[in-house]
């Protein structure tokens, strides 16, 4: 099911009497979510991503704008008539019911012509449980399950009615690191198998990048960028998106463009054609550095972390906005740890320029 958000806006009345301005949680959100895709809503906490999810679920009503599922306008429909499945952040499994009863619960609510016989309900519940691989645990209570198992039960309960859209609110935040990796693969697999349009919310960029078909990066209620994870990573529209995506995070410097040359400090580090002379922010991905004896960019070396797969070079630079500059280079490089400074050449594709005021990205031509 295609999900269309048109000018979706949600304002919350301010409770603060001294500052009666409305809080805009979601501001003019426009997006057409293609059918059968897995979409990650991504942003720091308080950016309106959960509000967006709740708007789609119908648990809260938008201030203005429309929500369409395919051709149906569901803006004014209550949640139960939208055909959604929602997995809550803390799962919200009914603690007094067994796993089986929990999964059956949505089916037992069906009325009229949708009403199912008991064997039909059981069949569907077992099918949903099999899909998430918890069919062995049907008679346990949620309290007797691990976090990951509870998560699966919650997904099974959301899927048992075969919703048109599946919504997941921070699905992995309550799991430990190892389980998180496993569960996100699982969510991907379930989504692929059921082909249900799935929207999930997360503040963890790695999580969103790894499994989403598309990610939506939000900040303070405003959508910053929508696109395939790799595209967003490779060409962020502004400094915020660049900083938000990637671990280790991008290195940001103060720089100037003078005569088609990019200067960081006094080093002319890169040729940038077609950019007017101005002050800029320079973002350089950690993998954008190449160690080179006569490289143009000089930093004072403060340490080297060997990871096995690659080497992380930690250095400092006066122009850096981060306390340290972190660059990742291949293990074939030999670094003199005793040296006071280290010189780099930069990969142009991994270097982004941002406007000093607007923080929008400035395109430049790469001269070879």
């Amino acid at each position: 099911m295609e999900v269309v958000l048109q000018n979706l806006t949600k304002k919350f009345r301010s409770r603060d009497r001294k500052n009666p301005q409305d809080v805009i949680a979601v501001n003019d959100f426009n997006f057409k979510i293609p059918d059968g895709k897995l979409i990650g809503l991504l942003g720091p906490s308080g950016c309106g991503k959960s509000t967006t999810l709740n708007l789609i679920s119908g648990l809260i009503k938008p201030t203005s704008g429309r929500i369409l599922f395919g051709e149906d306008d569901v803006t004014d429909l209550p949640p139960e008539n939208r055909g959604i499945g929602l997995v809550f952040q803390n799962y919200a499994l009914y603690p007094h019911l067994t796993v089986k009863q929990n999964i059956l619960f949505p089916l037992q609510n069906l009325k009229g012509k949708d009403k199912l016989s008991k064997p039909e309900m059981l069949e569907k519940a077992v099918a949903a449980a099999k899909l998430v691989q918890i069919d062995e645990l049907m008679d346990r209570k949620p309290g007797e399950l691990s976090g990951g198992q509870q998560q699966r039960v919650a997904i099974a309960r959301a899927l048992v009615k075969m919703p048109r859209v599946l919504l997941l609110d921070e699905p992995l935040s309550n799991l430990d690191a190892r389980l998180r990796l496993q569960t996100r693969e699982e969510i991907r697999r379930i989504q692929r198998e059921t082909k249900i349009t799935t929207i999930f919310v997360t503040h963890d960029q790695e999580e969103a990048m790894s499994i989403s078909d598309m990610i939506v990066v939000m900040k303070e209620g405003v959508v910053q960028q929508i696109g395939k994870p790799q595209e967003v990573y490779d060409s962020p529209v502004n400094l915020f998106v660049a900083k938000f995506l990637g671990t280790p995070p991008i290195n940001v410097f103060e720089g100037q463009v003078r005569d088609n040359q990019l200067f960081i400090g006094e080093d002319a580090v890169l040729d940038v054609a077609g950019v007017e002379n101005q002050e800029v922010y320079v973002g350089i991905r950690p993998e954008g550095f190449l160690l080179k004896e006569d490289g143009p960019f000089c930093c004072s070396l403060s340490g080297v972390e060997v990871m096995g797969r690659d080497i992380s070079v930690v250095s400092t630079n006066k122009a850096s906005l981060n306390p340290t500059v972190r660059s990742i280079v291949g293990t074939e490089n030999k670094i003199n740890i005793e040296a006071a400074s280290v010189r780099f050449e930069l990969k142009p594709a991994k270097v982004f320029l941002f406007h000093k005021k607007t923080e929008e990205r400035i395109d430049f031509e790469v001269r070879v």
Binding site: S57, G58, L59, P78, P79, E80, N81, I84, G85, L86, F88, N90, A92, Y94, P95, H96, L97, F105, P106, Q108, N109, L110, R157, K161
Partner: protein, 301 residues
Amino acid sequence: MIRKKLSNSSLKGWLYLLPAILFLGAFMVYPLIDVFIYSFEEGYNSASQTYLGVGLYNYSYVLHDPYFLQAVKNTFILVIITVPLSTGIALLISVGLSSIKPLRNLLQTVYFLPYVTNTLAVGLVFMILFKKTAYSDGLINLLITWFGGKSVDFIDGPYWAKMFVLCFYTIWVVMPFKILILTSALSSVNQVYYNAAKVDGTSKFRTFMRITLPMISPMIFYLIITGFIGAFKAYSDAVALFGTDLNAAEMNTIVGYVYDMLYGDSGGYPSYASAAAILLFAIVLTITCINLLISKKNVHY
């Protein structure tokens, strides 16, 4: 070494428990055992501390005493009517209170008022409501006659009328506490369960039956257990309404019977009183055990 340490710490534990054990032993356990012994000593005289013999005569006497049977009947009617009704009505009111927003605090205070109101003041109000005096028939009778009914004497009249007043009074008195407990229990149910139910299209009634009730079942169970025990021990309410001569009013309760046997006009029979008290203890114990058994299935912690 380890053993020494262990006994040392357990000694400390006993030391901390000592004050409570002493008090409970002197004022709870010892009298309880004493009452149990008295109940088998026939014709015990507390002044001379003598008795005629040992046997089951006390129980036989009490069980054949029409006043005791009347008291048992009254107590059971009171328990069976007031415990479910008061808990049910309290639940309804609490659900109502927690589903409204405006005036909630005011109404909560209003519903809690009976709990902090002086018993004498409450008695006065009930008098105005129900008692026939030379000047008026009471407010309730006024209403009954208004609608074309026949005036009833609730305080000195037929048995059912008196029982009605007693039940009404009891329910009204125990209600505030139950409402207080239930509203707090209801507000402690996480909103996320209601959201989940809403997304699944659960009807209001089903949400209440399948989610709210099980979630607050421990509190309801607590109220039912304490309600049963409290109602079995009812006495002062009957006195407040019908005066001290409850046997004549046919409104005696088991505790009232025990009291009368000890200190009442027909009193001075500690053996009979003890036997009645032990019988009451047995009844309460049985009912509580049954409650616990039922709760195993229906209460979710």
